[in-house]
C-alpha cells in the first residue's frame, strides 16, 4: 500500500455528501434573497406595528423586491425539490432525522442547557437537533404553500382556502418566515460555536 493510499484511507469519513452541501448553500442564498425581499414586500403593507429597516431588506422598493422574490422562488423551489427528492431517495432523512423520541428530546435539551452535549460525532444528530431540522423542513413546506396561496389566490384558490383565505395566508406566510429566521439564528450561532460543523458543511468532513 502506498503512502498516499494510507493517507486516503485514514481520512475521516464523509459526514455530508456533496448533494447535501450543494443544496445547503444554494438554499442559503435562496433564503437570503427570499427573506430580504420578503421584508421589503411586507413594508408595503405591514401586518403588524413595525416595518423592516430598508437597510436590511432587498430590492429597494416594492417592484424591485417582488422581482427578487419571484426570481428567488425558482431557486428555492427547484433546489428544495432536489433536496427533498434526494433526502427521501437516499434514505438520508430517515437515517438522520428519525426516530425522534420525546424522552430523548427532553434529555438532550437539558444536556444542551448544561453544555454537556457532545459534538464529537457530527454525523449523528442529537434529538433536539433532529426536531429542529424537522420543524424547519415543515416550515419550509408551509412557507412555499402559503406563498403559492398569496401569489395565485384565483388559480390556486384551493390552496388559499386551506390557509383560511388570502388575508390569513399572509399571516401564515409571515409566521413561517419568523420560524425560519428563528431557526437560522440558532443554527448559525451553533455553527459558529462548533466551527468544525461549518467545515463539514463546506468540505464534507
Amino acid at each position: 500500500m502506498t503512502a498516499q493510499a494510507v493517507a486516503t484511507s485514514a481520512r475521516p469519513p464523509v459526514i455530508h455528501p456533496a448533494w447535501v452541501r450543494i443544496t445547503h448553500w444554494v438554499n442559503a442564498v435562496a433564503m437570503l434573497i427570499m427573506i430580504g425581499s420578503g421584508w421589503q414586500i411586507y413594508d408595503a403593507s405591514p401586518l403588524f406595528g413595525f416595518e423592516f429597516p430598508p437597510s436590511i431588506a432587498l430590492g429597494g422598493w416594492l417592484a424591485g423586491a417582488i422581482s427578487w422574490h419571484l426570481a428567488g422562488m425558482w431557486l428555492l423551489v427547484v433546489n428544495g425539490i432536489v433536496y427533498v427528492t434526494l433526502g427521501l431517495a437516499t434514505g438520508r432523512f430517515r437515517a438522520k432525522l428519525f426516530p425522534i423520541r420525546p424522552r430523548d428530546v427532553v434529555r438532550d435539551f437539558v444536556a444542551a442547557l448544561q453544555r454537556k452535549l457532545s459534538y464529537d460525532d457530527l454525523s449523528v444528530y442529537n434529538a433536539v437537533q433532529k426536531l429542529f431540522y424537522l420543524l424547519v423542513i415543515c416550515a419550509g413546506v408551509v412557507i412555499v404553500l402559503s406563498g403559492l396561496a398569496i401569489w395565485k389566490p384565483v388559480q390556486f384558490q384551493e390552496i388559499t382556502a386551506v390557509f383560511g383565505g388570502y388575508d390569513t395566508a399572509r399571516y401564515v406566510h409571515f409566521f413561517a418566515m419568523a420560524t425560519i429566521v428563528a431557526f437560522l439564528v440558532v443554527h448559525v450561532t451553533l455553527a459558529l460555536i462548533v466551527p468544525k460543523s461549518l467545515r463539514a458543511m463546506i468540505i464534507g468532513r
Binding site: A28, G60, W61, L62, A63, I66, S67, W74, P153, V154
Partner: protein
C-alpha cells in the same frame, strides 16, 4: 428596453409604497436596486457585488418575463375568482392610486366617449348611455393590491368579452390596451380580457362608480392585481403589440395574475 430599467427613480421608496404618490423622475439614480446593497451577506458570500449591478437588473427583468409566460400557462380561462356574499362587501372601500384622492381625474359624463380602436370592425365611439344600455351583471370579488392588502368589493357592469364581440374585435389578437383619462394605461392579455369575470364596471356597491374609484368606467379584472384594473378608461385598443402600462413600465411584473 427591459422594463425594469425604466423605473422612475429618485423617490422616497416609502412614499411610493405607502400611497404611490406622484413620481418625479430623476434619471441619475436607479431606484430599483437602491438599498439592495443592504443584503451585504450575499455580496460577501460571492465575493463580488452581484446585487447592485446591471447584470442583476437585466437578469431579474428576464426572469420577470419568464414569469409572465408561466402565469399565462397557469391562467385557466374557465376558473372563476371566488365570489362572496354581499354582506362581506367593504362599504368604506379604500382609494388607491399614484395620485392623491383629491387629484383623481374629473370626467364629464355628458361629453364622455369611449374610443374603441385597433383590430376591431366597428370603431365608433361609445357614449355613457350607450354603454349603460349593455347587459350588466354584478360581481362580489376580492380586490388584491400589489402592496399586499385586499378588500372585497361589489362591481356592476358589462362583460368585456360581450363588448369585444359586439364591436367585432379580433379575439385572436394578443392584447387589449386601455388608456385612462389622466394618462394611466395598462395592456392585458386576450385570454384575461375574455374571462367571464372581466368587466367594464359602471357601479361600485350599487352606486354609480364614484370619481375616486374610476368614474365613469373601470375595467374590473378579479384575476389580476389591482394596478391592472384601470380606472377612468377612455380608450380601448385591440392590438398585437404590447404597449405596456404605467406600473408595468416601472418594474412591476407585466402579467400580475392572481
Amino acid at each position: 428596453m427591459p422594463r425594469i430599467r425604466t423605473i422612475v427613480p429618485g423617490v422616497d421608496p416609502k412614499l411610493l409604497i405607502k400611497d404611490a404618490a406622484k413620481l418625479i423622475p430623476e434619471p441619475s439614480r436607479r431606484l430599483f436596486l437602491r438599498g439592495a446593497a443592504g443584503l451585504g451577506a450575499l455580496t460577501m458570500l460571492t465575493g463580488c457585488n452581484i446585487i447592485d449591478s446591471d447584470a442583476a437588473e437585466s437578469t431579474l427583468a428576464k426572469i420577470s418575463r419568464f414569469n409572465d409566460r408561466v402565469q399565462a400557462l397557469l391562467f385557466n380561462p374557465n376558473k372563476l375568482a371566488p365570489t362572496y356574499p354581499e354582506s362581506m362587501v367593504d362599504r368604506t372601500f379604500r382609494f388607491n392610486g399614484y395620485y392623491d384622492e383629491e387629484d383623481a381625474p374629473e370626467v364629464d359624463g355628458e361629453t364622455y366617449r369611449l374610443e374603441v380602436g385597433g383590430l376591431v370592425d366597428d370603431k365608433k365611439s361609445w357614449t355613457l348611455p350607450e354603454l349603460y344600455a349593455l347587459p350588466q351583471e354584478k360581481q362580489v370579488t376580492r380586490h388584491v393590491c400589489v402592496e399586499g392588502w385586499s378588500l372585497i368589493g361589489s362591481w356592476t357592469g358589462a362583460r368585456l368579452s360581450d363588448f369585444l364581440k359586439r364591436v367585432g374585435a379580433d379575439t385572436r389578437a394578443k392584447y387589449i390596451w386601455f388608456q385612462c383619462a389622466e394618462g394611466y394605461s395598462n395592456t392585458i392579455d386576450m385570454p384575461t380580457a375574455l374571462h367571464p369575470q372581466t368587466q367594464m364596471s359602471f357601479k361600485f356597491a350599487d352606486e354609480t362608480l364614484p370619481r375616486k374609484f374610476g368614474y365613469p368606467m373601470k375595467i374590473r379584472i378579479p384575476t389580476k392585481l389591482g394596478f391592472k384594473n384601470p380606472k377612468h378608461v377612455v380608450a380601448m385598443h385591440v392590438t398585437n403589440k404590447d404597449l405596456g402600462g404605467y406600473w408595468e413600465d416601472r418594474g412591476y411584473n407585466w402579467f400580475s395574475g392572481l
